[in-house]
Amino acid sequence: MNGIHDMGGMQDMGPVREEKNEPVFHHPWEGRVFAITRSMSAWRKWNLDALRHQRELIPPAEYLRMSYYEIWLKGMLELAIKFGLVTQAELDSGKPAAGSAKLHPALTADKIPGLVAHGTPASRDVAVTPRFRSGQRVRARNINPVGHTRLPRYARGKPGMVERDHGVFVFPDTDAHFLGEKPQHVYTVRFSARDLWGEQANARDTVCIAMWDDYLELE
């Protein structure tokens, strides 16, 4: 989806401002939203790609106005409602619906060290033939899917070179919509800044983008 989240190359967002001695969370509620989001994902009703897409669906003006963890909160709640973990009425009243059963949390404190230490690998140990090899000239496809994609707009249609094959990974464009993992190779593709941005870019500068097989064609 050509949404506001796909920001690479915009120029009107102002300067980057670093905060000295920044805390991990600026308010206690931010930490709670971070942890609640992780805990709710543990029910495995959705995956990380679907969660990212849900955040991308926030209308542009709201997306720009909201702070980071507000975006997390909204994305998570919309999925929780969609998958029936909570209802809007429960959120409004703050009380469980009458007669609803109490569950046992999917993520309990004893599981945190394991979750943190092992994560959720997106690589898949399946034999898939790579369509490209290191050193090959390729072009990012000019596609404009209305769903989730991790092919940034600024790279579409641009030529680059495959630098490294990282192996087989879940494909976000289908995974985000629960259409299967469609595992395929992910490559580092290096683009010249001049190919991306024209003469104003430094001739030496480059941008490396991780690209799935389905994002590429031979140059």
């Binding site: 690479g8 967002m13 102002g14 980057v16 905060e19 509620w29 942890a35 709640l77 469980p96 309990t108």
Partner: protein, 238 residues
């Protein structure tokens, strides 16, 4: 200061938040005074909303309060850029380790006991006199949690996400880093589940330092690639 669309939005949000809550939070005011700009200010009722949400989810048995506390404690106190600094210091001190780190980053990082959530597939990229690497996630906020902790606000902000790929030298200048024209700036856009750690150049004057002393010099910003590790001053701490 030049007014931007972003500033306008932040101001509008501030005004809306203040109107809704009746006042700005003490934190927001202090924040504004401490470094002369405001982040988006959130209506203070958001804190209440989240509190009520947590109670509801605990009551329904969807989340475990102790698990929330443990997650927050992990990322506030246990996992942060000191982990990455240890990786960098070891690579500076041990060329065989550095080779392993650049070729099989996951395994080499795991040798120090780090890895896992949001760092399952690590790629370490080395800065040299000819190449300066810098990392961004233009599409969201991907960042190598096990070695750097959770990302700072600026990394997740629209200015950094949008401009790093089109004007990396301008962004680096805002961090106080001016690079010569003949150095390649290589930007890594974290579009997949690969997570990047920059191995900064080892500064001069550090030849006799122990690994612990080296680790103390390494900054988070240098491992994102928006800074260098400064040369060590003669006879004193860096």
């Amino acid at each position: 200061m030049k007014s931007t669309r972003r500033d306008f939005l932040a101001t509008a949000a501030t005004a809306a938040g203040a109107a809704a809550a009746g006042e700005l939070s003490a934190h927001a005011q202090e924040h504004e005074h401490s470094h002369g700009h405001s982040h988006q200010v959130v209506p203070s009722d958001l804190a209440l909303r989240v509190k009520s949400l947590e109670s509801l989810l605990v009551e329904k048995g969807l989340v475990d309060r102790a698990a929330l506390d443990a997650l927050i404690d992990t990322y506030e106190h246990k996992i942060g850029p000191r982990n990455g600094a240890r990786v960098v210091a070891k690579a500076w001190n041990d060329s065989a380790y550095k080779m392993r780190l650049l070729t099989d980053s996951d395994k080499a990082i795991a040798e120090l006991g780090y890895g896992g959530q949001q760092g399952e597939h690590m790629v370490v990229v080395e800065n040299t006199p000819a190449v300066h690497n810098m990392v961004v996630c233009t599409l969201c906020s991907c960042y190598p949690w096990p070695v750097l902790g959770l990302p700072p606000v600026w990394y997740k902000s629209a200015p950094y996400r949008s401009r790093s790929v089109i004007d990396p030298r301008g962004v680096l200048r805002e961090f106080g880093l001016e690079l010569p024209e003949d150095v390649e700036v290589r930007v890594w856009d974290s579009t997949a589940e690969l997570r990047y750690l920059v191995l900064p150049e080892r500064p001069s004057g550090t030849e006799r330092l122990s690994e612990d002393e080296l680790a103390a010099l390494v900054t988070r910003d240098a491992m994102i690639g928006v800074a260098k590790v400064p040369p060590r001053k003669e006879g004193g701490a860096a």
